[in-house]
Amino acid sequence: MSDFRTLVEVASALDAGTISSVELTRDVLSAIADAKSLNAFITVVDERALAQARVADDRRAKGLAAAVTGIPIAYKDIFCTRGVRTTCGSRMLANFVPPYDATVVERFDAAGAVMVGKTNMDEFAMGSSNETSYFGPVHNPHDPNRVPGGSSGGSAAAVAAGLVFAAMGTDTGGSIRQPAAFTGVSGLKPTYGRISRYGMVAFASSLDQGGPIARSVRDLEVLFGVAAGFDPRDSTSAELAVDPARHKPIDALRIGLPKEYFAALGDRRVAASLDTARRWFEEAGATVIDVSLPNTDVAIPTYYVVASAEASTNLSRYDGVRYGHRCEAPQDLEDLYLRSRSQGFGREVKRRILTGTYTLSIGYFDAYYLKAQRVRRLIRDEFVRTFADVDVLLTPTTPGVAFPIGAVSDPIEMYQQDVFTVGASLAGLPAMSIPCGWVDGLPVGMQLIGPHFGESLLFTAGDAFQRATDWHTRRPGRKP
């Protein structure tokens, strides 16, 4: 039976003793089993979860419970989990059982959270629909014929379907925000460097950032508090401590609407939802102004050049020598490489590897990779300048609502899904998607982008909105 309480609500129930973590975990495991058709999970760890739940109940009995103690959560199958298979949605790692935990997993373990399983995802996080997974597509709980978005599609679908109270995802160009928008849940991509990348399988190192997906902004805030923090094992981890305080009330917020984002938004009904949200912020006393981010139109090509370049070399380690897929009876070393990699990687991954190899190779490096890094600076700087005038940017998360599985077969068209999310990724900014409307029985998301390390501004704006609206409480199968 699906459970649509928020993480904060469930934590109160655990505190009050009306339910134990073991009972909660049993319910969650049975809900996951019932919802197998969604294909949200690659691996479910029943016994391990119940053992963790028992430990969590003991801990709570001793009065040592933290905010997430005993709460069943899931991890995108990109986070390495000691002793539990970590596939990254790829045949290459279909049997890979890491002997170590990701820092994110260690932090949640230390806080007493219960891991119920590993969620489905686009292969190596490359995709915007969860259709590139070696383990098959994930279905959107709001309409099983539609995609849940990607690449953290399994994580978003599991939260939206009431299978777990939260899931940790990763976001390189929109992989938390877009599926959150498509499934009607809340998702946060923190500032680059906030959450350790140690033990998180790399896609594009200068863009990858882990983050939570949950049913409310308050939940995101709690999860962010657990996951974020300095990690000496990640050289790009920020040494700045997380300040749990929210410093500005909603009526002191200055909210910017980047005109280029709205100009690029073709779907009028999505635009109408965003407009309603804008009006709500104005009525709540926030100052709403129009701003301009002129390089928005080159964000997608810039992103795909940078991300593919980094990915092409990050994926070189999968060579069939030390772990991962190895072809049968290799003739020689070249054959071992060629066949292991060709069999182990899917089409989209190969496409990105080839693109990245091209843009880094002699003769093209300056025109593509280096040029993209220059444009990246322009994009970042124009965000930073804009944040001198505003606290938060309000934009659509996606150009439209969730599309049918198989509807977007052209890769270049698929990349356009990321038009509103890649800017914040390139600039390393925190960005959040929360539900703000409903079109054709499907959720619409809005994106809030903050300045570097300004997650608390996003929590202020998002939580105020959710206290006054009920978009985030709508469940699949209960259309308004």
Binding site: F79, C80, T86, C88, L93, F96, P98, P99, Y100, A102, R197, Y198, G199, M200, V201, A202, A204, S205, S206, P232, R233, D234, S235, T236, A309, E310, T313, L315, S316, R317, D319, V321, R322, Y323, L333, Y337, T357, L360, S361, I362, F365, Y369
Partner: protein
Amino acid sequence: MTWDVVIGLEVHVQLATRSKIFSGASASFGAEPNSQACAIDLAMPGMLPVLNADAVRMAATFGLAIDAELPAESVFDRKNYFYPDLPKGYQISQFERPIVGRGHLDLKLPGGGVRRIGITRAHLEEDAGKSLHEDFAGMTGIDLNRAGMPLLEVVSEPELRSAAEAAAYFRQIHVLVRYLGICDGNLNEGSMRCDANVSVRKSPSDPLGVRTEIKNLNSFRFLERAIEHEVARQIELIEAGGTVVRETLLYDPDRDETRPMRSKELSEDYRYFPEPDLLPVVLDTAQLDALRQGLPELPNAKRARFERDLALSAYDAEWLTSDPDVARYYEAVAATAGDPKLAANWVMGEWSAAMNRDAARTSPLAAEQLGRLIVRIKDGTISGKIAKTLFDALWKDPNKTVDDLIEAEDLTQVSDTAALAALVADVIRDNPEQVGQYRAGKTKVLGFFVGQLMKATQGKANPQALNELLKDALAEVRDR
């Protein structure tokens, strides 16, 4: 005709850190295969590099020692290529912005004189593992213990003019890094390796000829032989009407020949780009000032000081400063002995012979003991002959002290004139034939008397006192 030979060297200096350059795995030598390759060295999914502070300190120290420009910021790059002993499929190195910029080395030329050799740059990088081609059922075995070992690659300008000069340069770098304490200098364990770029041309005014690169030379002798061989090969080739092809060669010391490396046939496109998992390395002025303060006295300065202040010959000064451990030992001996020249004789003589005989890495005999032994020679307590016996005794039993042994073995020199005079009288009385010879002018016979007397005193007679007494006594006999 004579040919102009142009050689540039790339010397790989393995830095003497405890742990690897990007991981906390042990950097000690000689462990079981793959027992020092941690998850980071194995390029497991999600693993990240974190730079070793001591590797940076050592590189900067080297830069200061060669008067190099040290840029405020240096950057790590990925050098991409597939090889089974390169786990990530890229080597983390420095390409565009190395940690050490342009510097120089004042090379003591083999034929005398000094020439300043430009050092283009020195950069930090990680070593690869080892491929073992012994037959494992027709396969190659990979040991990754060496993967991630810290290397400083020192690149010279093509300013070396002969194989002998190249070997002298390699030697001088070897001495320098040992003085700086940044490398153990152990060539047998591969702690220093060298690649040589070699070309020839008919005249120094001609443009540079096509060069070949000889890889992985790990001894001074091999380096010299390989270059000699390659120079001869190139000249022979050109004189026969052929042209030199740019290629990478391996030197086979058993056959004394170079052969092309099969694995390097494919001209690689390394696709260098900034390593996104690492941030720019900053060397600030305060840090550099502190390192400069802490620099040890360098070989050239020490040699000059030994000649100037200790009045040693150029030969002795050169000999004693060619190894920092020897120089340190010598200085301690000389300080205790209070006689630099005598100390030099002992260190270069008995001590060095004993070290070589036992192939000792560290001296079993403390420098202070050797110094005290010399003091006892100088103050007349023991004879030089006895000192040699004592040296051997001390070498075998380092727990004894010089004075203990002198006392225990009753080795104190007999300087008591009355006692010696009695012995002298006895010897003269017992050997009338020799006395007759002496009186006939054969003064060489004096040695016979000394020998007899030393025998009688078991070598303990003070030779000076003995000589005087003997001469006086013989004169008396003659006068009679």
